[in-house]
């Protein structure tokens, strides 16, 4: 976490400890801090302060957007169902159940699990129009191509009158590829105009974006956007969901009236203040820091591909976050590389989830059509504010020998 962020949070632990919902002076100070943070955030997003809902992080914001919109729509969806007997002129149909309009969501195969698993949950969630058979939600998981970039034409093809939500991430968290959000927003706008409909809404998980990409919601054309604190040198356990004016959603939690009842519970004042500060810093430094990191990223990629045989880049070479490098190093396995690098003082992640609870290889690497062996050898390096060229030179000093060693006792020899 950025020291400047820590500093602005400091007074809100013990000094200004009030509950922002209280009427006493300490409470008003806390309320003021929360509302100032909301305005600051709104300004950066080009949104109205009212449209910012603070949550406990990116996962909660994604869940709130998807489940919240879906459950709100579910309440209204049966209205679209035609009354019994009104279907067609065929007599036999008059005795059948009314046709069930199954609400539909479009997302991609390589979303964060917070989005994917929310959608999977909806597929199981019984949806039943009055008198009709029960059915889960229909979800389209779009392909992302070999380079990990969604084609807006695929979104256009998947849209239908039952589509209530499109959720596509701004930048992928594993391979860093940046999605054409504005173009997708235009496709959706055109569809809505043509169909004279308010749906679908467009949500984007933008957790990876602040500090590198434009996050102005008007320019992007999104209706909902997820942001979290920990990815931007802010505190963990805090995030937000931006909601365009007029959007209704069903909350995940029920309780008090905080966050317009959409996220009840006493506000995490220091974290909210910290998130706003982190976002301000990220936004201020965006252009300069991005330009610096793009150079470092390209330098690192060219050295990795040039100096370690049988190494391939995952994701589009340039349409990716300035701080993301993801390569598959064949004939060596990800977890082993990570642990050898850790021993050498380099922290990075694997695309494969061998160190996490799930032993499944990365769904992102699989989504870009790479075989299992590539997914198990996928390595993600993230550059940060403190990363300098000498750090990359250090990695390139130790990594080739680590790979040589692992390949020395590997029985695998993949042809590329």
């Amino acid at each position: 976490m950025d020291k400047r962020v820590k500093k602005v949070m400091e007074p809100y632990w013990t000094e200004n400890f009030g509950n922002p919902n209280a009427l006493y002076k300490e409470g008003l100070i806390a309320r003021n801090a929360v509302e100032t943070a909301r305005e600051d955030v709104a300004k950066i997003l080009g949104a109205r302060a009212k449209g910012i809902i603070f949550t406990n992080g990116g996962t909660e914001s994604d869940n709130l957007a998807i489940l919240g919109i879906a459950r709100e729509a579910k309440q209204n969806f049966s209205r679209f169902t035609l009354p019994r007997g009104a279907v067609g002129s065929d007599a036999s149909q008059n005795f059948a159940s009314p046709p069930l309009l199954i609400p539909h969501i479009i997302t991609t195969k390589f979303e964060h699990h917070a989005v994917l698993n929310s959608c999977k949950r909806l597929e199981k969630e019984g949806f039943s129009a009055k008198g009709g058979p029960a059915s889960g939600w229909e979800v389209t998981y779009l392909d992302v191509g070999k380079e990990g970039v969604v084609n807006p034409k695929d979104v256009a093809k998947a849209l239908k009158s039952e589509t209530i939500l499109v959720s596509i991430m701004y930048a992928n968290n594993e391979i860093g590829t940046v999605q054409p959000i504005r173009e997708i927003a235009k496709v959706i706008r055109d569809f809505k105009k043509k169909n004279k409909s308010n749906f679908p809404l467009f949500h984007t998980d933008a957790c990876q974006a602040p500090g590198y990409l434009d996050i102005n919601v008007e320019r992007l054309g999104v209706d909902l956007m997820t942001i979290n604190g920990s990815k931007i040198y802010g505190p963990k356990g805090i995030g937000l969901l931006y909601m365009k004016n007029g959007i209704k959603l069903e909350p995940l939690l029920y309780g008090g009236e905080q966050e317009r009842k959409l996220r009840p519970g006493t506000e995490n004042v220091p974290a909210i203040v910290g998130l706003a500060e982190a976002l301000k810093i990220a936004d201020n430094d965006r252009e300069k820091e991005s330009a610096r990191l793009v150079k470092l990223r390209n330098y690192f990629i060219s050295r990795l591909l040039g100096e370690i045989p049988k190494t391939v880049l995952n994701g589009h070479p340039t349409q990716r976050l300035p701080n993301n490098i993801n390569v598959s190093i064949l004939d060596a396995e990800g977890e082993s590389i990570v642990l050898y690098l850790d021993e050498a003082g380099v922290a990075c992640s694997t695309g494969s989830a061998c160190t996490s609870e799930s032993l499944e290889p990365s769904h992102v690497i699989m989504a870009i059509g790479k075989p299992h062996a590539y997914a198990h050898g996928a390595m993600r390096f993230s550059l940060g504010r403190a990363t300098a060229k000498k750090d990359i030179d250090y990695v390139m000093k130790v990594l080739p020998d680590i790979i040589k060693k692992l390949r020395m006792f590997s029985p695998v020899n993949i042809k590329i």
């Binding site: 082993s336 642990l339 021993e343 609870e357 290889p361 299992h372 006792f409 590997s410």
Partner: protein
């Protein structure tokens, strides 16, 4: 307080992983071994291949070598298995066949539960090698 120096696996696993023993460098030479066995797949993320040389009369394992592609515990368990069966100039096949995954895990000072099934493959590869050896002999 959490122990910040703690490694994700036991110190013994780390030692075997960082300094693996008993692996085969490159391809085996003609006649260097009597048979080999291989288990695992690219899909599941671990592959182990082992080679054995057996004394025909005593049925003692004269040489055992391995190669592994996989996570730290897969590499460490192969290395541990090699050490276990080559102690005292090699176990008898009969005895080595009795080594169970739990024995390897115990030898390594314990293994996370979720790693138990997928990464202890050395004993299975060894059993395949022995099977191949027996089949060859019975020809």
């Amino acid at each position: 307080m959490a122990d910040v120096d703690k490694w994700v696996y036991s110190a013994i696993i780390k030692d075997h992983f960082m300094k693996p023993r008993g692996f085969l460098l490159g391809e085996p030479k003609e006649g260097e071994f009597d048979s080999y066995g291989e288990v695992g797949s690219l899909a599941c993320g671990d592959i182990i291949k082992v080679w054995i040389k057996v004394d025909e009369k005593t049925e003692k394992i004269k040489d055992f070598k391995w190669q592994t592609w996989g996570c730290a515990t897969a590499i460490a368990s192969a290395s541990a298995f090699a050490e276990m069966i080559m102690k005292n100039n090699g176990m008898k096949i009969e005895e080595a066949m009795n080594i169970k995954p739990k024995d390897i895990a115990d030898y390594l000072g314990g293994l996370p539960a979720r790693k138990f099934h997928c990464s202890i493959l050395a004993d299975k590869a060894f059993k395949k090698a022995v099977e191949n050896y027996r089949n060859k002999k019975s020809l």
